[in-house]
């Protein structure tokens, strides 16, 4: 069976005829070539594939693409400013060395953006608890937590912190 799915990805309308087994992560990476969404575990555990579905963080490897029909999807490619400037959360990861190999980073950033929107004054304990859906095998998390705290502070300061999707 082939089904037609229509959704908005990073502000652009997309329609595709797909096998209903297609995962959202697959549609993004293989059909749309948005390879910033990483597949780490492919079992819903590691969070590397995190994207936003109507503004909420979800694991794209644990979602059928058809479940995103009619929805707004934002990936790591869709969060920068109009002229390509880094999102405040991305800038904070760079500034605070919140990555080593970078494999987990897109998922961390996407989760951290919703975290910061939900908890604008998050403290360290909240950040650690709320990042529990994202695993990193390199950093030991300390600098990720620093980056998220700084990114959250910048997001609440920044007038232009509206994230698409």
């Amino acid at each position: 069976m082939t089904v037609s799915v229509s959704l908005t990805v990073n502000g652009k309308a997309v329609t595709a005829d797909i096998d209903p087994r297609t995962l959202l992560a697959q549609l993004l990476r293989e059909n749309l070539h948005l390879t910033g969404t990483h597949i780490g575990c492919d079992t819903g555990q590691c969070g590397a594939c995190t994207v936003h579905l109507n503004g909420r963080a979800v694991k794209a490897c644990n979602l059928l693409a058809v479940q995103a029909h009619g929805a707004n999807v934002t990936t790591i490619e869709g969060i920068c400013g109009a002229h390509g400037e880094l999102h405040p959360m991305q800038a904070a990861f760079r500034e605070h060395h919140g990555l080593q190999c970078g494999f987990c980073t897109p998922g961390m950033v996407m989760n951290a953006i919703e975290l910061a929107q939900k908890h604008p004054n998050a403290n360290e304990a909240t950040v650690r608890a709320e990042l529990d859906g994202n695993l990193c095998r390199c950093t030991g998390y300390h600098n990720i937590v620093k980056a998220v705290l700084a990114g959250a502070a910048d997001m609440s300061k920044s007038v232009n912190n509206s994230v698409k999707g």
Partner: protein, 267 residues
């Protein structure tokens, strides 16, 4: 995944008809349990009927003595709902600690109950609060709903539409997380209301269950010390690489006392 047909009905009526049409067709809610099972070929189905477009399953209604939550309401929506926080704060807190943010943003109440994972959180709340599960066909009391390992009283093609929680006088849920999966290694939900005390345990056996010895003692005196000496048998409890049965039995006793303390307003 094995192949399947996919349907996205717009009404409950159409969803019921589609499930009826194909033998072994299955509803899809958040997909946080079903999709991994399909991916690992632990489950297969000729047709998935996606309940995602059914707005009628997505309401939360707070009345004087009951809170009714639609089967399609997501864990994060329960955690953030004003009505749930006012009427049944213990449930908002429980939902806020299911899995992780991404799982909570997709997973639903109905999906969790229909799945009846032995370590899931909602079944403990439903059983301890003596909730009623409404389906497209009937209303099932909590005591009759959970029938075994991943088994429920649901018949093929039956769809949970909502869950009705009577509001307790007091209640608390204490979960000891299995740190890798975040499911309950053991979770104990205690509630007092409508003239009865109920204690439900998840994570410890093949399905959620009640501890009637503790309920009786707490009915006489609702205090942690009232159950400190109630012996919990390890006989039917799970042993796995995370915990042995006697460890789980001990945890049940400790967590139940903590839950009673928390229900009384202590911490």
């Amino acid at each position: 995944m094995h192949t399947f047909d996919y349907h996205r009905p717009a009404t409950l009526k159409d969803a019921v008809a589609l499930l009826k049409k194909t033998e072994n067709a299955r509803p899809l809610a958040g997909g946080q349990s079903l999709t991994p099972a399909l991916k690992m070929r632990l489950a297969q189905t000729p047709a998935l009927v996606d309940l995602g477009a059914l707005e009628e399953l997505r309401t939360i209604k707070l009345e004087a003595a009951v809170l009714t939550i639609g089967a399609g309401v997501r864990h994060s929506e329960v955690a953030e709902s004003k009505d749930v926080k006012i009427g049944l704060p213990v449930l908002a807190k429980l939902a806020a600690h299911i899995g992780d943010r991404q799982v909570r943003n997709m997973g639903t109440l109905g999906g969790s109950l229909a799945n009846n994972d032995p370590a899931a959180d909602y079944p403990a709340a439903v059983l301890a609060l003596s909730a009623t599960i409404h389906t497209n066909r009937r209303s099932i009391p909590a005591d009759k709903f959970f029938t075994g390992l991943y088994e429920t009283a649901l018949k093929p093609g039956e769809i949970i539409t909502s869950v009705e929680f009577p509001l307790p006088k007091r209640a608390a849920y204490v979960k000891f997380k299995q740190p890798a999966s975040r499911f309950a290694l053991v979770g104990v939900f205690v509630s007092e209301g409508g003239g009865q005390v109920r204690v439900a345990v998840t994570g410890a056996a093949n399905s959620v269950f009640r501890l009637k010895d503790m309920e009786k003692k707490l009915g006489e005196k609702f205090a942690p010390e009232a159950i400190a000496k109630v012996k919990v048998s390890a006989d039917k409890l799970n042993s796995d690489l995370h915990a042995a049965a006697d460890y789980r039995a001990h945890l049940i006793s400790v967590l139940a006392q903590r839950a009673v303390g928390e229900a009384l307003g202590g911490k």
